[in-house]
């Protein structure tokens, strides 16, 4: 079974995949629309939405890190057992 540390890492990886996917799509859209212009409203909206998606996933990761800190203080992320107070 995956450890708590591995599970947090896994969520982080999903966040990263969303962010990389959105960011690259946004940049390629900017780049390629110079060759094949899209209607300005559509282009602007798509770029804005992909940018928001990037920012929102960073927001999700920040919350995840807070949660991680809180959990790691009380539970050993590698064993899953409560930390002893010594």
């Amino acid at each position: 079974m995956a450890t708590i540390r591995e599970l947090f890492h896994e969520i982080g990886n999903w966040h990263n995949k969303i962010s990389v996917g959105a960011g690259v799509t946004k940049e390629i859209l900017k780049q390629k629309s110079k060759d094949n212009p899209l209607p300005e409203g559509i282009k602007g909206m798509l770029i804005k939405r992909f940018g928001e998606l990037e920012r929102q996933v960073i927001g999700a990761e920040k919350v995840l890190l807070q949660l991680k800190d809180t959990i790691y203080k009380t539970i050993d992320p590698d064993t899953g057992k409560p930390r002893t107070k010594d």
């Binding site: 890492h9 982080g12 990886n13 962010s19 990389v20 940049e27 990037e54 960073i58 890190l65």
Partner: protein, 278 residues
């Protein structure tokens, strides 16, 4: 180098479209082979890699390849930060990655390094010795979608008495790779009107058994946008030439002369016999 194939695939496609030659891997052992076999200018390095982890790779890169720039990107927040700080890296990114920031950092690090054109766009095998070319005509390939211009340049540089140079000239489209392979060009004049295809073409050139010694971009500065800017920042020469040949800002005679000067410089650099008066 990242254990997530989605990430390596996506970043590979993105940076390739910007003119970079990319190697990718999802495991540390394969990463070691790439580091040893290719002269890398920059590594995007994840810390969590199977077989050989990113900390070991970073240590190895710093010790044996100090000229290679390394950007560490990790989902491990600050747990490994002190180890990485101890070893040293050129930039550190916490995941999730922001592509704009990553791209800016890659471009800054590569331009800081002032990588020569050959090392930036061509692999190690591309660097042939100058002695190899000495004493023979420079083989010049002109690649342009503008048929009239391409023909004009071919005529000019083919005639020794007109251009006062000594070139074997071929004009070609991007689709004639077999002919390009046979011709084995020393220098390529590449029209920026091919923008959008330049990165792809650069990658194709890298795979030639005998890649060119020099690529010179030319074209209208008005269409000299991002893809071209990246190549210029990486040291590739750009010669201004108007889209409209009647454009008075860049008299055609003068711009052809500029191209010829750039060719002569390349011939001197590589010991070729192109510029007769050189």
């Amino acid at each position: 180098m990242d254990d997530e194939k989605f990430v390596t695939d996506t970043l590979e496609g993105f940076f390739r479209s910007r003119g970079y030659h990319i190697f990718k891997t999802e495991d540390g052992e394969a990463a070691l082979k790439i580091i040893e076999n290719e002269r890398l200018d920059l590594v995007l390095l994840d810390i969590k890699l199977p077989k050989v982890d990113g900390i070991r790779l970073l240590t190895y890169l710093r010790r044996d390849y100090p000229r290679t720039r390394v950007i560490v990107m990790t989902a491990y927040d600050l747990e490994y930060k002190h180890k990485i700080d101890g070893i040293g890296c050129d930039a550190f990114f916490l995941k999730p990655l922001l592509i704009e920031e990553l791209t800016r950092t890659v471009e800054e690090l590569l331009s800081k390094e002032q990588i020569s054109r050959e090392s930036a766009i061509l692999p190690v095998e591309a660097k042939r010795t100058t002695a190899e070319g000495s004493g023979r005509k420079a083989r010049l390939l002109i690649v342009s979608p503008r048929i009239l211009l391409s023909g004009l340049l071919k005529d000019y540089f083919s005639h020794e008495e007109i251009c006062q140079g000594n070139y074997e000239v071929m004009e070609s489209g991007l689709g004639q790779l077999d002919n390009i392979k046979k011709f084995k060009p020393d220098i390529i004049l590449l029209d920026v009107a091919l923008v959008g295809l330049l990165g792809e073409f650069g990658t194709t050139l890298m795979k030639l058994p005998q890649p060119p010694k020099e690529i010179i971009l030319f074209g209208d500065p008005a269409i000299k946008w991002e893809e071209v800017e990246v190549l210029i920042r990486r040291g590739i020469k750009f010669i201004e030439m108007p889209q409209d040949l009647r454009d008075e800002r860049y008299p055609i005679k003068e711009t052809i002369q500029r191209l010829h000067n750039a060719l002569k410089e390349a011939c001197v650099k590589y010991g070729l016999k192109g510029g007769l008066d050189g």
